[in-house]
Symmetry: C2
Subunit: 154 residues, 2 copies
């Protein structure tokens, strides 16, 4: 896999990898930037959430779970001193749908964390990763009710 | 730092972190995707290249080097088996400008790699990272000539 970032002046860059999508990178005015793109370290958090999210939705669909909405959040703590590495990550999976089985969700997350997701395998060498999940029942009329929440460390 | 990815159907997600930039994530049709966004693992490579690129351009500008163009490439090898983690990274820095000093470029890269860049500090826990650099002299009329190339491991 190849990626590159091309300087656009000041602290702005354009990033691109094999898939061809242009990703503007920028930084904060307090460090000379123009707030005109993603911060590089944000891409690690989005990449981690996206990588495991693709595993989990793929597994839940194979198990014919009726997922209607789904998101994964990454909550990241970083060191105060340079280099400001990640020191703690909480991955929070939120699943909406009809009669979603908790054990199917837990098993899908476990499979991603321990077998399939390269981002998880790489980041757990950097810092601890905790898992939280919430399953909501989607009701007629658009209402939703929380069925169950849980947390574990894979 | 918080990030999240929201499911858009099939294998497509929209990613966003604190800076607010929307980053579409997608995957290959061979694994059920629609090729409609960046692959999650590409974000790690772009994030790494972008993080160190911001350090290096910032240092070179403080040293009043006359940089006219600048890019950083990340060449990544990955494991064949799941989870397909990064196994080797080459970071290649290409600097164009007027009378750019090699020792300034090398020192800027070293400072990023060993002190400032969280992405480098995190990824070197995952796999070896090699550095290559090329410095070009920008001539009148737009011609360029390679002045020097080098490589090292920080």
């Amino acid at each position: 896999m190849d990626a590159k970032v091309i300087w656009q002046g000041r602290m702005s860059f354009n990033g691109r990898a094999d898939s061809g999508l242009d990703i503007p990178l920028g930084t904060d005015p307090s460090v000379g930037g123009d707030n005109d793109g993603a911060r590089p370290m944000e891409l690690f958090a989005i990449g981690l959430a996206g990588c495991t999210a693709m595993d989990v939705i793929s597994i839940l669909q194979k198990k014919r779970m009726g997922v209607t909405e789904f998101e994964v959040q990454a909550h990241v703590e970083r060191a105060d001193e340079h280099p400001k590495v990640f020191t703690h990550i909480v991955l929070e999976y939120v699943v909406y749908g009809h009669e979603i089985k908790e054990d199917a969700v837990v098993r899908a997350i476990e499979l991603s964390a321990t077998r399939y997701c390269p981002a998880h395998a790489m980041m757990e060498k950097v810092c601890p990763i905790e898992i939280k999940y919430h399953i909501y029942e989607e009701k007629d009329g658009g209402d939703r009710s929380l069925v169950v929440s849980g947390e574990f460390t894979p």
